[in-house]
Symmetry: D2
Subunit: 294 residues, 4 copies
């Protein structure tokens, strides 16, 4: 089939390649991008036969909204837009309604896979009406990993990004779990070879997992992680997961703890712990450490 | 080689079988157990040629201590005791010292594998002096899974149980991560097929893991887990992990949250939330729910 | 001065009384309320001399929005609207802009005090332009407690509700702190008189506080809180506090833990702990409790 | 009455003064201390008429044990030892047994008050047999604050230190609550005067408390706490509180979060966040910050 693909960054570029390998035609567009196959969104749309399928791999928020706005004018009844970016699930219903008013279908799709996706395939979680999903199915089949798993029609519009968001929330807590365990092992004087303990866990244990494999790989590169700072960014999906949990009154203590640990890691000095220090100083004459500037 | 094995429960019985399949001789003993190969600890010791290796698979605490006490009299210089049970790592140095005073070696070994171990092998983490470990090595090789991973000499006496304990702490937080994600997906009206979302994650995602495979298996048995109560026991090792973290001033927010979630799950009514309700009633005239008995 | 007051519930009714005791004229309106002084918003506005001040004590969200919509038509340039309800701080800028387009000022005001406010005064936190605040000042002075503290111009529009929201977030964690301590004391067999321990803390300790006084009062009513269920509602402001923290990448572990404890308290059975139980059953043959219906 | 007082540090010295002001005789001893009233423990004991009461204000652990050991030889049947230091409650039963074997009574007493105790009195929580407590009562009455509250016979031996430990656990979470709220207010651009918001809370709010008063005092000294580092020590009792909770399977999420926040505050770089950064780097090609030394 033919696919219009908007966004040719690290993810979009690799996905174009994987879809082409499966025998499909991809017309890729991104502004100011030499490898683009079209010079404008309009050119891209013109190059596709109706009914068209256009896949977005664009930063969430304003950038995605702007492309949706343009496509709602350029596309025609019966076409389908797939938002494969990291949009917040709450944007999806709005986009579906906006495009639906023009007879254009909408599917949201969470995509996991990172730099490994080109070779191994991308895990896909998508939401939307069955008739819209059906039009995209050959592309989903091209992108997904081999095997039975790796792709799911998760539910209504929004379900794809919701499922991907929860995937990332789980990922936060799993990473935090390994990180906490690693720090504790490194702190124990009895344990003299933490890296080999991690390696041993790759077989026969309850916690064997791809993240464990990556941890071993990281420790093989740098046994005590001395080359890295204890500083972790967050991509927004962890925050959205906690917000969704609050909306639904679902307690998420481990995932939220993992998010907060990242927040703390980015503070050079903790304001809240200044207040704790100040209170200790007030009530107890406890010695506190003065700021370096003091 | 020959091995004395004390404890023939679900774990010990299967381990005897796996060691025998590797061609070793096992003299198993457990009190009041028809399948035992010896009628007493003394008989078991007599049936082994020196230098002997005796492996304990006995409940931690008093039961293990009692066997160590007896063996310190029955065994001889050059023999080695392996504690393969779930002992707290802080017991190991004491046992090593007690046996060492008689010239008997000591190795502690954390064992993971559960009911799957007989066929797939047991992950092993052990601690102790190299000379003592060497005497047990053929048994470790018989028990461990195939492949390079699955067994590690983690460090000094205590390191084996410490590493196994941390493994279990990580396991707590990973289970909690999947559990939190599952509850949130079930709460989202957009997501209509949570089980298939979980299944899809088994390929191509960051969170693919054996625990995810088990979650899918559990959902295949009972899609919404309606046959189970939200009640989770804990086996002690999660508690010890948090205590070890406190000893080392290592923050473990996700693992501790997972432990506390289990504590809460076992309370029919939460005392602390009675107090919160009482305070709300006092200061705000907030409506609170009276106890059923009221 | 004259004040229009919309909303005559438990809070609004008592506030009308306290403002009147200070010598001001209050024209109160609420639909279908016998004690109302005006039969409609329009009547209320007509009864006030310009420049008018109208104070809202109406449920946040749609109800408040609806009154703001009506008042933006009924009021005139130079008038001021005060939102004293529990609005989310993010609503305030929108209301200020909407009213400001008509020349009407806007002040947001968080109010604390509950059933004790009529006699002891209400703590007030307000935000907005100084000129608008100045027009409301006599009412603030009437409502606030005696003494220097109890009222603050916290900053720009939104600052009042933001400060009140954070107050409530702190309140959540303080209540949780006493609740956790109480449960632990009740669990300790050494401690035979937990209520008297709480009472003793009212003098000379670091934790003496009004909430502690309320806890003692609650324990005097019902020593072991047997008349209450461990079930705590939340009023929204705890949720907003966590959301604001996420917006600002500020870690709030204790406040968030307190919110999640309330969420959990309202679940008859915990879905996430069903999943933990299911995983334990899968990997270990651990005994789990079946649902009562099973 | 007469009292032997061992330990004349900041706490012990002030307590001697307060007891003397109440008209009692105090024989204070501390090694190498010019202000001591006796030159040795033996001298101190000799200076007291039987039945004697000896109060310890000595660091917990070995120092306290050593004094208990000596006193068990020096004292006589019918005498009473009071441990007023910060001993772990699990030490108390051992000390009571050791002394009881010689007919010497034992009372454990948690003392709160810090530098304010001399003038305002010390909050006291004590545990032990009624007959032993009775012998110390005049000293308790001298030390406690005025008013009905401030002292409690909390239960059996150990109950005093247990109650004081829980007091400190609650204190950790209350301090954390104010600290989290303060950081969030400082981060909000709407709120332009955080210090005045805190000051306003001192009247009429749900969270008014002595700790809030101290926070205001600290902010008056240093409005944005720029003179302090975000670094908070812990005195051991927070750790013990969490350990006691684990022993009793009581969830303490807010108190534990407060303890972990202190642990984190003392790490220049977080090992666990290095692992999170390493995993992000492995799976996603996410940019991570290299260590400064890299």
């Amino acid at each position: 089939m033919q696919l219009g693909l908007v966004g040719l960054g690290k993810m979009g570029g690799n996905m174009r390649e994987r879809i082409r390998r499966a025998g499909h035609t991809v017309v890729g567009y991104a502004p100011h991008t030499p490898s683009a196959d079209a010079h404008s969104l309009a050119d891209m749309v013109d190059a596709l036969d109706a009914p068209r399928v256009v896949w977005l791999m664009v930063p969430s928020g304003e950038a995605t909204q702007s492309v949706v706005d343009e496509l709602s004018d350029l596309l025609s009844e019966g076409d389908v837009v797939v938002d494969g970016g990291n949009s917040r699930w709450t944007d999806d219903a709005r986009h579906a309604e906006q495009l639906g008013a023009r007879g254009i279908g909408f599917v949201d799709c969470g995509v996991s896979g990172g730099v490994w996706g080109l070779e191994n395939g991308y895990a896909l979680m998508y939401g939307g009406d069955a008739e819209h999903v059906a039009k995209v199915q050959p592309v989903f089949d091209a992108l997904k990993p081999e095997g039975d798993a790796g792709a799911v029609h998760a539910g209504k519009v929004g379900a794809g990004h919701f499922a991907k968001m929860v995937h990332n929330g789980i990922e936060y807590a799993m990473m935090q779990a390994f990180a906490e365990g690693w720090e504790l092992l490194e702190a124990a004087e009895e344990v003299t070879d933490v890296r080999e303990v991690f390696r041993s866990w790759q077989e026969g244990t309850v916690i064997r997992s791809w993240l464990l494999d990556l941890a071993v790989r990281a420790l093989d590169d740098d046994e005590h992680l001395e080359q890295l700072r204890g500083y972790a960014a967050d991509s927004g999906e962890g925050r959205w997961t906690v917000e969704a949990a609050i909306d639904h009154a679902v307690p998420l203590p481990a995932i939220t703890a993992s998010l907060f640990a990242r927040f703390s890691s980015r503070q050079d000095d903790s304001p809240q712990m200044k207040m704790v220090a100040a209170l200790r100083k007030q009530f107890g004459g406890h010695a506190v450490e003065n700021a370096k500037s003091a």
